[in-house]
């Protein structure tokens, strides 16, 4: 008799797991445990990071010389758009959710996540949606796309991606809220706390985007009189892929840094309440996101007019900055309170949150009317800072929790070196565009600016930065795989965070 099931009960009652390739595929398809779902998401995000890095390299080369053209000029809009999608919904959101789902049960001493099948649905929906989006771009769809069928496909895929992320976020938030073993929220690990902040933020903001997608799809397939067709998709949905909304996606990075500091220094967080408040401040982004306004600060003709412009600007652009800056400062305080030493997890998380902070500062600066940066590459650079910062923090999270989750800790020195290389890649991929933005290089365009001098160099430098990040990614995957195969080393982070 041919065995079709992946598991069969033996005569002694033990469960035998099929080792056939078909069985392995079946197990993966029906996965419903936090380690596999989390790792699948992280792997999917790694593939999208590779795509984002390659597209980033191509865009840098394309913008190096306005006269020369590497790719067809008609494909420029799609290239810029796919780069943005890849960074946000291909990398930042699924990577952070995946790492959180992977590690949160071990932080809470729970056996699995809540609603694992919902999480599995979320993973498959995200995967199917992201592939659909990629196919739609290849078929001349996406924002500004020329193919009607593939523009519709893009909207369908984007909706599916967001639905999947919401399902994953619900599973994550439910896990933290219900599997705390009686601990109050204020006493759980900082990583779990920041994960629930990010997850709740996604549950409350992404459905607003899904509603907009439904409107856009109905309008696009029928009258096209209300929402302006494919050319204006980005104007309706762009807020989901810009700061400060991206802070919600990467909020778990704050907790990674907080936990890494106390576990590295083997200390307690002296101002734990302030730390939790700072993480909660990240949730103020929800207000900014659902209003979908740019909130640019303009100096008015009277003090009251200036104040009227400054208050919403500060609320939506400056207040979220408090989250990373307080977490960074309190992490250093925790190090000081204990016995600090070189730690790969801390270095990666610290640099990652630092990059996220730099991106958010850039976004806040961009919304100062006096600098006239809206519509320049400055915004692209801010996004790259935030997303690559999240990648670095994820490296820190894997180093921090690998021992507890997989039983095989990662060696410190290679993680530290990769984190340093990663921060160099991030700065190289972003900072030159901050400079080019100040020199008025337009966003999402490969023409219409002076490419001589520093702007041309800036564009080619970003290409190098993206290529370097691709190398960091490959090296880290290699390190993780090799650590799984080699003998176990001591897990220096095994000491629990202070309660």
């Amino acid at each position: 008799m041919v065995m079709t099931a992946t598991q069969a009960q033996s005569a002694t009652g033990s469960v035998a797991v099929s080792t056939s390739p078909l069985g392995a595929v079946a197990r993966w398809v029906t996965l419903a445990d936090h380690v596999r779902i989390g790792m699948s998401l992280a792997l999917g995000a790694a593939l999208w990071l590779a795509i984002a890095a390659v597209v980033g390299v191509v865009l840098g080369v394309e913008r190096f010389d306005v006269g020369a053209s590497v790719v067809n000029a008609d494909a420029h809009i799609q290239l810029f758009s796919v780069h943005q999608f890849a960074l946000v919904f291909g990398v930042a959101a699924p990577l952070m959710l995946g790492i959180a789902l992977w590690s949160v049960p071990s932080q809470l001493h729970a056996s699995n996540i809540s609603l694992p099948r919902l999480a599995a649905f979320g993973w498959w929906a995200w995967l199917a949606g992201s592939i659909t989006v990629l196919v739609s771009y290849l078929g001349n769809g996406g924002p500004g796309g020329g193919s009607e069928r593939y523009v519709e496909t893009y909207l369908l895929g984007l909706g599916l991606v967001m639905l999947g992320l919401v399902a994953l976020a619900i599973s994550l938030a439910t896990t933290v809220l219900t599997r705390r073993n009686g601990l109050p929220l204020s006493a759980i690990s900082l990583g779990a706390f920041s994960a629930v902040v990010g997850a709740l933020g996604m549950v409350l903001t992404l459905p607003v985007a899904i509603g907009t997608i439904v409107y856009l799809w109905v309008d696009y397939t029928n009258a096209r009189v209300a929402f302006g067709g494919a050319g204006l998709i980005d104007s309706w949905l762009g807020w989901t892929m810009r700061e400060p909304q991206t802070l919600l996606y990467v909020a778990p990075a704050l907790g990674v840094l907080g936990d890494a500091a106390v576990r590295t220094a083997k200390s307690r967080q002296p101002l734990r309440g302030v730390m939790l408040t700072a993480m909660g401040i990240a949730a103020t982004v929800i207000l900014s996101s659902v209003t979908q306004q740019a909130h640019v600060f303009t100096v008015g003709t009277s003090p009251s007019e200036t104040l009227a412009s400054f208050v919403p600007y500060a609320l939506f652009n400056v207040v979220p900055l408090l989250a990373p800056v307080v977490v960074i400062l309190l992490s250093l305080l925790a190090l000081k309170a204990g016995t600090p030493s070189l730690s790969g997890a801390f270095v990666a998380a610290f640099l990652g949150v630092g990059m996220i902070f730099t991106g958010l500062v850039g976004s806040a600066a961009m919304h100062l009317d006096v600098l006239d940066l809206v519509g320049t590459v400055f915004g692209e650079a801010a996004l790259v800072y935030v997303v690559y910062g999240a990648v670095l923090a994820s490296i820190g999270a894997v180093a921090l929790h690998a021992g507890a989750v997989t039983g095989k800790a990662l060696p410190d020195l290679p993680v530290t070196l990769l984190a340093l290389l990663g921060v160099a890649a991030t700065v190289l991929a972003s900072l030159p565009h901050y400079i080019a933005g100040l020199l008025d290089q337009p966003r999402a365009a490969a023409v219409g600016y002076d490419d001589s001098g520093i702007v041309g160099i800036a564009n080619i430098a970003t290409s190098l930065g993206h290529a370097l990040m691709l190398l960091v990614l490959i090296a880290f995957i290699g390190l993780f795989v090799s650590s799984r195969r080699s003998a176990a080393i001591a897990d220096r982070y095994r000491v629990e965070a202070s309660a």
Partner: protein, 201 residues
């Protein structure tokens, strides 16, 4: 002699189903809230033009000759009240261990949902607009269609809860409480939509 102090029992775990139901309801509310906010924005920004009398201004939103079938829309609103009462009755009956009343309450909730969907379809058939002319028509069908899907999701919840009770899982009070919570939330969403789309138009 003093009695030894009892140690504290294990902390009661928060119900997974209840929390998940609340989160799904919050997500659905964000979905509907966002759609209604866009509706209000479009309505506020609808262009105005001078009417044929040359004096009054007309807003290009809902055409003057289109009448909203208010009997159907108001019936839906009142039917939601019945659905909420039935869902709460299911919780009450389950706590008293009354399986037959719990099942009956869930069945009535389910059929109430069906009646709401039926009224929505009737409204679509009565209203004299198509999906091809202007922003109002596009948004009307989109927002009401989304509400239709949300009500259908609540009905699926009722069906699942009913089958669980029929299968003998009468002790799952949290499922029934979560079910009632979801129906309350859906009713609140419909009330908001009813006021914005059918009353204020």
């Amino acid at each position: 002699m003093t009695a030894p102090a009892l140690t504290a029992g294990p902390a009661r775990r928060t119900s997974t189903v209840l929390v998940a139901s609340a989160l799904v309801a919050a997500g659905a509310a964000a979905l509907m809230g966002g759609m209604l906010a866009m509706w209000l924005q479009f309505r506020a920004n609808a262009p105005t033009r001078v009417a044929s009398d040359g004096v009054s201004l007309i807003k290009d939103w809902l055409k003057k000759d289109v009448a909203i079938p208010e009997v159907a829309s108001n019936t839906m609103m009142f039917t939601f009240v019945i659905a909420c009462v039935m869902a709460q009755w299911a919780v009450y009956s389950a706590r008293r261990g009354d399986k037959s009343h719990t099942t009956l309450a869930l069945a009535v909730t389910l059929f109430t949902g069906l009646a709401i969907l039926n009224a929505q379809v009737a409204l679509w058939m009565q209203i004299d607009i198509v999906l091809r002319n202007d922003a109002y028509e596009t948004m009307f069908y989109t927002v009401t269609g989304t509400m239709f899907a949300i009500v259908a999701s609540a009905m699926v919840y009722s069906l699942v809860a009913m089958f669980r009770v029929l299968a003998g899982r009468t002790g799952d009070h949290d499922v029934l409480t979560g079910h009632a919570l979801y129906w309350y939330a859906v009713s609140g969403m419909f009330a908001a939509m009813w006021f914005v789309v059918y009353v204020q138009k």
